[in-house]
């Protein structure tokens, strides 16, 4: 199983899309009842000033059911995940959760994943971590690795094949 199969719209992704859809309609039911557009989320949003994300509008669009429009928009990928919107909402609505779910939907729909997510996922599949041991630079322009610093060996999955098999199962089917 390669990374392309994991993130493309292969037939087997149907189950995953059904599951994400269910999550979105749950979120829709919850927010429709409570959000009254006070925009407190947007006033604190870490991605608002520089990237123009407006979480209260995300909630409004979800209420109206404009899900495809959001899934196909780049704006959902600007969320930093600082959790201020969820923390400060007087109605306990969590725009950050909506945004994560919309991003999941974009991926399950086979949309191009921006940035370094793909290489990180590839690395997790092969070694269990987002990256392998790096040469760390020092202040006086040398480099040091774990062993040279007297640190014990890296903790990694002991049976990489089994580990990879389970992750692939989740990404493709659903739990």
């Amino acid at each position: 199983m390669s990374i392309t199969d994991l993130t493309s719209m292969a037939g087997s992704q149907t189950q995953l899309r059904i599951e994400i859809n269910k999550r979105l309609s749950n979120l829709q039911n919850e927010t429709s009842d409570y959000c009254f557009q006070c925009a407190k989320c947007t006033s604190g949003c870490e991605a608002h000033k520089l990237l123009e994300l407006e979480p209260h509008k995300i909630v409004a669009l979800l209420k109206k059911g404009l899900i495809d429009e959001m899934v196909n928009s780049d704006i959902i990928w600007t969320c930093i995940g600082c959790y201020k919107c969820w923390e400060r909402c007087p109605q306990k609505v969590a725009p950050v959760q909506i945004l994560y779910t919309l991003k999941n939907m974009a991926v399950a729909n086979g949309k191009q994943i921006p940035g370094k997510y793909t290489s990180m996922l590839q690395s997790i599949l092969s070694i269990g971590l987002i990256q392998d041991i790096q040469e760390a630079p020092t202040y006086d322009n040398k480099t040091k690795k774990r062993d040279a610093l007297g640190l014990p060996p890296l903790s990694k999955p002991t049976d990489p094949q089994k580990f990879q098999m389970n992750l692939t199962k989740i990404a493709v089917e659903k739990i």
């Binding site: 969590a94 991003k103 370094k116 774990r146 739990i175």
Partner: protein, 285 residues
């Protein structure tokens, strides 16, 4: 002597060695025994945008490994700490999902039970070891230093799933700093994000955010900044020059891990705390 499994995560054990070195040096002096377990993987947090179920599975897997060894987890990274705590919050309230995850975990002979506690550096020092004990062990108080604190978004929020510090007015690092003799003060930008999660797809913006926060701290007469998360630290320390360039400012603010400052106060030699790996000029301090 209390025992914890050390869950290293990804970033700390593969490049942020200064945090790991200082953790391994300081905690034994405070009667905390850290156990290394093989088999851990990524906590899944960086994959939340791609597939939340993947995140949930990876987190549950790491908790299960610790539970197999009957140990509570010490998690030094704020990202991992949120991911594992959130996983616990979800699975403990959803038997259906828990059973499904456990069916998959059984192929690796592990099981998520939900008995394991998940502890971060800040609550380990502040609540479990306690300020009194730290005060007693201080050999070289960090006098004449005024230090700004950076908690990291994922350590303080969302409080609904349980975080180790208060979400709007966190004071635990301040208390620890005072216990080791340093001065500290709140500042308006204290709760601002370092920008690190945006590095994946909006690097310019990420650096701008870091630069703005660093500049604000520098202008407020602090000698140094303290962090408790490898992602925040990398952003504010290793990328400080770049962040400064991005907002067209010169920034020279020494950045330390809390455990490095604590180590210094406990009388550990600076060579043993990985300070050479901090890329901001820490020698002055």
């Amino acid at each position: 002597m209390k025992k914890y499994a050390l869950y290293p995560g990804c970033l700390m054990p593969t490049e942020q060695y200064g945090y790991e070195i200082s953790i391994r040096e300081t905690f034994p002096l405070l009667d905390i025994h850290l156990v290394d377990i093989n088999g851990f993987s990524c906590c899944g947090e960086p994959m939340k945008s791609v597939n939340q179920l993947l995140t949930l599975y990876l987190s549950a897997r790491n908790i299960a490994i610790s539970e197999k060894n009957n140990l509570d987890l010490y998690v030094p990274c704020a990202m991992c700490h949120l991911s594992l705590t959130e996983c616990k919050h979800i699975l403990d309230n959803n038997t259906h999902l828990k059973n499904k995850i456990n069916t998959m975990l059984s192929s690796e002979n592990i099981e998520y039970r939900g008995e394991c506690k998940i502890i971060h550096t800040v609550d380990l020092l502040h609540d479990i070891i306690g300020l009194e004990k730290i005060k007693k062990q201080v050999k070289k108080p960090l006098e004449n230093l005024k230090i700004a604190t950076h908690y990291g978004c994922r350590l303080i929020r969302p409080s609904e799933i349980g975080r180790p510090v208060d979400s709007e007015n966190p004071q635990k690092i301040e208390n620890i700093l005072q216990a080791i003799g340093a001065q500290t003060n709140d500042y308006p930008e204290k709760l601002d994000c370092c920008g690190a999660p945006l590095l994946i797809n909006h690097p310019e913006t990420a650096l701008t955010k870091a630069g703005q926060k660093l500049k604000a701290i520098q202008e407020q007469d602090f000698n140094a900044l303290v962090t408790v998360c490898p992602w925040c630290h990398k952003m504010l320390d290793a990328r400080q020059n770049k962040a400064g360039e991005t907002i067209a400012s010169k920034i020279h603010l020494p950045v330390f891990y809390l455990t490095q400052l604590l180590g210094l106060a406990l009388g550990i030699k600076k060579e043993k705390l990985g300070l050479e790996l901090n890329l901001t000029y820490t020698n002055k301090i």
